[in-house]
């Protein structure tokens, strides 16, 4: 283990530079499982630890990342009316997506991990793994064109006020990733709602607006593609007339399911080649991720099932009322639109902010499903409810647990 010896040699002194030592410790324990052994208590421990748990959530999201990256490019060229086939201009779409996504991903991690390391060094404990998942989630729930400074601000807000103020990983009340999104939503609403923000690479999504390429596109990749004889980024391309960047939900609010299907086909909705936040469009991939989480028992199936039950029940109720076109949308159609599945698989199942009792998880899931759908259908300002519903029910999760626990206590006392 010469690598191990080398790494041990460069370990910074804990007293001289606590920050460096904390950072070193975080990366070292990431690379090597420590040699610590059990003391009295159990002598053998399960192979599962928090790192492994968290990283499995990240693994479950990988398909969303792949699709999200490609879809950024795909939507960009759809707006220009070019390469409209799914696999046309494959290299351009992929490269365009990566140029959008990588800075978001890097900024998220630099800012988030920086704060995390700083607080860990200050409090003198090891860096906990919470940000592993948060950092992977945040890029997926942001629009592709989000300005990086707004992103940074939102992460600083979410991590400091949402997590460190409560005492770090495991203590927070609200889902950190959603807090960062809700910050953008309330502070800079135009960057995350409406029909202007979901398609990257144009100043404005109106007919005739020119593509906005940077040095990476024209100065770096174009020469490479040229030398290979492939198609290149064309700075002269413009948004086609009549193109709208509206999401299915905005359309559904205007005119129900018919309006949605006049623009998007059901298979587009299913596979996620539609405008939206980076990672939440590909329903098939999210379902695969959710199944992975359920099979590995990393996330609670009770919360997921509860949310589906809540959604279906509320939809049936709204169908019965049926006073607006949106109320006529059936539950299967609701599942296809918007970010319900993503919220269900990755957001609501955050074990720290969810209910911690098994029966509480059902109630928690059902409430999110019901309230989220009511916000989606009834709220004219913003036709997507899961972010707000999850944050709201996060707040009440301890209350739900309280009643579950109280009933357990009462049951025990009644024995006497």
């Amino acid at each position: 283990m010469s690598l191990l010896n080398f790494i041990k040699k460069i370990e910074p002194d804990k007293k001289k530079s606590p920050f460096l030592h904390t950072a070193f410790d975080a990366f070292f324990t990431f690379a090597f499982t420590p040699n610590s052994v059990t003391k009295d208590g159990v002598h053998i421990r399960d192979g599962m630890d928090l790192k492994r748990l968290m990283v499995h959530v990240v693994i479950a999201m990988q398909l969303c990342y792949v699709l999200g990256t490609y879809n950024i490019g795909h939507q960009h060229f759809l707006a220009a009316g070019q390469y409209t086939g799914l696999f046309d201009g494959f290299h351009l779409k992929l490269v365009f997506g990566l140029i959008q996504l990588l800075p978001i991903f890097i900024v998220t991690h630099v800012v988030g991990l920086g704060i995390e390391f700083y607080y860990a060094a200050k409090k003198g404990h090891a860096v906990e793994e919470g940000f592993l998942v948060t950092g992977a989630l945040i890029p997926l729930i942001m629009p592709p064109d989000i300005p990086l400074w707004i992103l940074s601000l939102s992460i600083i807000f979410a991590v400091i006020l949402g997590k460190e103020a409560f005492g770090g990983t495991g203590m927070n009340i609200w889902n950190i990733a959603l807090l960062s999104r809700v910050f953008v939503f309330f502070a800079y609403p135009l960057t995350i709602s409406g029909d202007q923000c979901w398609i990257a690479g144009y100043d404005k999504i109106v007919g005739g607006a020119a593509a906005d390429y940077g040095w990476w596109h024209t100065g770096f990749f174009n020469p490479i593609f040229e030398s290979l004889g492939w198609a290149t980024f064309n700075p002269a391309q413009t948004v086609v007339d009549g193109f709208s960047g509206a999401t299915p939900l905005a359309l559904a609010y205007e005119g129900g399911w018919e309006r949605v299907t006049s623009i998007f086909s059901e298979s587009q909705l299913l596979w996620g080649t539609i405008p939206g936040s980076i990672g939440e469009t590909g329903k098939i991939f999210i379902i695969l991720g959710a199944l992975f989480l359920v099979v590995t028992k990393v996330a609670s199936w009770r919360i997921m099932a509860g949310m589906v039950v809540g959604l279906i029940a509320t939809t049936l109720m709204l169908n019965a009322i049926g006073s607006t076109p949106f109320m006529h949308v059936t539950w299967t159609q609701h599942l296809l639109m918007g970010s319900f599945l993503f919220a269900m698989a990755f957001m609501a199942t955050d074990p720290v902010t969810a209910s911690t009792t098994n029966s509480g998880k059902w109630i928690y899931g059902i409430l999110i499903g019901a309230i989220g759908l009511i916000i989606r259908v009834m709220n004219p300002a913003y036709p997507e409810g899961w972010m707000l519903a999850i944050l709201l029910i996060n707040t009440f999760a301890p209350t739900i647990d309280y009643f579950v626990i109280e009933s357990n206590i009462k049951k025990r006392l009644s024995r006497a």
Partner: protein, 545 residues
């Protein structure tokens, strides 16, 4: 195909039959509602005909006395028929509890074969084995003095009536002191042939409870009984609500008590008879219903007890779990739990008038050459017991007890008072590159992120690495999966950490002891020391009450 399966298939067939019937009966201009109504009507009609026939059949069966086994003698499946019953036939009319929660940790190095008599020279009594004893008990013997098996060695100054006696005869060789002059061990060099102090045991049928318990306290039998909650040597004046004995151990590599009880049936029954005089309630026996063959007849045919059969995974053999499912501890009462070999020791005192603390110990673990059962006495020297074994390497850990709730020992130390097992495992004090992501060696886990669930019968070579660092509680719902009790372990632990006495009592701290939460501690992804926290909670509650 079992009877249940055929019944369920029959019901499915009837339901399916309705489909073509309903389809035929509809015309082209009917709507879905009509189809639904017709289908439901047909189902109800068929159901009425079937249940009429069914009832007639049941009446007929009862009249002719065919329905002797009280099974669901009907063609329509009852609710319970949808799940295959795991109840083995030998359970008979006794209560049967099947527990789904829990986890069996399968390890290499199980003790097998017949019991081997070994020579152990040194024995010791360790006062620290008893919770709540004062650290410096009054020692009645001096170094160099000769004692017989059953002679008083020490007693607790707080409760002088309860005597702790010598398991063997021989010479006192050392009285070791630990921190703050607390007595760590009283060591005895055993004679080649054990000499017993003989006493005249009272007839348990004709003696009052008070005399009986005074006799037991005087002759060192009370320390063999555990009083719950708080795990104390019982208070002689407090009458336990019930007494519980678990006759099987589901812990990793635990000894098979059917092997241990062989030839002791008489003493075991006598022990039960005596115990039944000491309680106002009953003596509950928890029996193993996991296997095809019935438990040893000493257990299965025991008299004077209420038998409950348990099937499931570890910890269903834990007496705490069994108490929870038979007669849960009520607030303000105490119960006793006794281990099988301790019942035998009590029984022999009343049969033969001697304190016979012979013990069958399972020597287990993947790191030793020859895992087996050995016969010795209580408090044997670990060095002596392991003398014939060769170890696979030097980097080992010796545990008195099982890997979940046993205690760490060195070669020079002695087996704990209540343990009937030694486990030897490898120390896992090495670094592992990306060990949390891609483990090199297979390791026991309840998590499906490992391929373990594909190989349910694989036996692991366990080691003591923590596989991660301590973290705050993050994952919920995992502990409940391995604790087959109506208890919320994480919330209980949090209430103990907050020192919230009322809440921890409400959440059932008094129903638990270390071995019950050991599996929760094993699975904990945050690597929380749950047994330690629980003990702190119990001691805190005991102080307050």
């Amino acid at each position: 195909m079992s009877a249940q399966h055929s019944k369920i298939s029959l019901m499915a067939a009837i339901l399916l039959m309705n489909y073509p019937l309903a389809a035929q009966s509809t015309t082209e201009n009917s709507n879905t509602l009509m189809v639904a109504i017709i289908t439901i009507t047909l189902v109800l009609l068929l159901w009425a005909v079937l249940s009429l026939a069914n009832n007639l059949m049941k009446v007929e069966a009862a009249k002719n006395g065919i329905d002797t086994i009280k099974e669901n003698f009907s063609i329509i499946p009852g609710i319970s028929d949808f799940w295959t019953s795991k109840k083995p036939s030998y359970v008979g009319d006794h209560k049967f509890v099947s527990l789904n929660k829990g986890h069996n940790i399968l390890l290499e190095g199980e003790a097998t074969g017949s019991v081997e008599k070994i020579t152990v020279n040194r024995f010791a009594l360790l006062p620290s084995n008893f919770h709540g004893i004062s650290p410096i008990p009054k020692v009645e013997v001096e170094v160099g003095q000769n004692v017989k098996a059953g002679d008083i060695i020490f007693y607790d100054k707080k409760r002088p009536e309860i005597k702790y006696v010598s398991p063997v005869s021989g010479e006192i060789t050392a009285i070791e002191r630990g921190e703050k002059r607390a007595i760590a061990s009283i060591q005895i060099l055993a004679d080649k042939k054990i000499e017993y102090k003989t006493v005249k045991a009272p007839d348990s049928d004709k003696t009052s409870r008070e005399d009986l318990i005074n006799f037991m306290a005087e002759n060192g039998l009370l320390p063999h009984i555990n009083q719950r909650p708080f795990d104390r040597v019982p208070e002689p004046s407090v009458i336990p609500a019930n007494i519980f004995i678990s006759t099987f151990d589901t812990a990793p590599l635990a000894p098979d008590l059917n092997v241990v009880i062989e030839g002791q049936q008489l003493a075991f029954q006598k022990g039960i008879d005596v115990l039944s005089k000491l309680t106002d309630g009953k003596v509950f026996l928890g029996l193993d219903a996991r296997k095809k063959q019935a438990p040893h007849k000493a257990f299965a045919e025991a008299q004077n007890v209420v038998k409950t059969y348990f099937a499931g995974k570890h910890p269903c053999g834990n007496v705490g779990v069994q108490i929870h499912h038979t007669a849960p501890i009520k607030q303000g009462t105490v119960v006793w739990t006794v281990q099988v070999q301790d019942v035998v020791t009590i029984g022999k005192m009343f049969l033969d008038g001697v304190y016979d603390a012979s013990r069958i110990i399972a020597v287990t673990g993947a790191e030793i050459s020859n895992p087996k059962y050995v016969s010795t006495y209580l408090g044997a020297s670990i060095d002596d017991v392991l003398r014939q074994q060769t170890f696979s390497n030097d980097n080992i850990r010796i545990i008195s007890g099982d890997v979940l709730s046993g205690k760490l020992k060195t070669m020079e130390e002695f087996i704990n008072f209540n343990d009937d097992q030694i486990t030897v495992v490898r120390e896992g004090n090495e670094y592992e590159l990306f060990g949390w992501l891609l483990p090199i060696s297979p390791r026991p886990s309840v998590s499906n992120t490992f391929p373990n669930f594909l190989y349910p019968d694989h036996k692991f070579e366990a080691e003591t690495n923590t596989h991660g660092e301590k973290r705050a509680f993050v994952l919920s719902g995992l502990y409940e999966e391995v604790l087959p009790m109506d208890i919320y372990p994480m919330h209980l632990m949090k209430s103990i950490l907050n020192k919230d006495i009322e809440k921890m009592e409400g959440l059932g701290v008094t129903e638990l002891t270390e071995e019950d939460v050991a599996l929760c501690e094993f699975v904990c992804v945050s690597k929380t020391p749950m047994q330690q926290i629980l003990r702190e909670g119990l001691e805190l509650m005991n102080e307050q009450s």
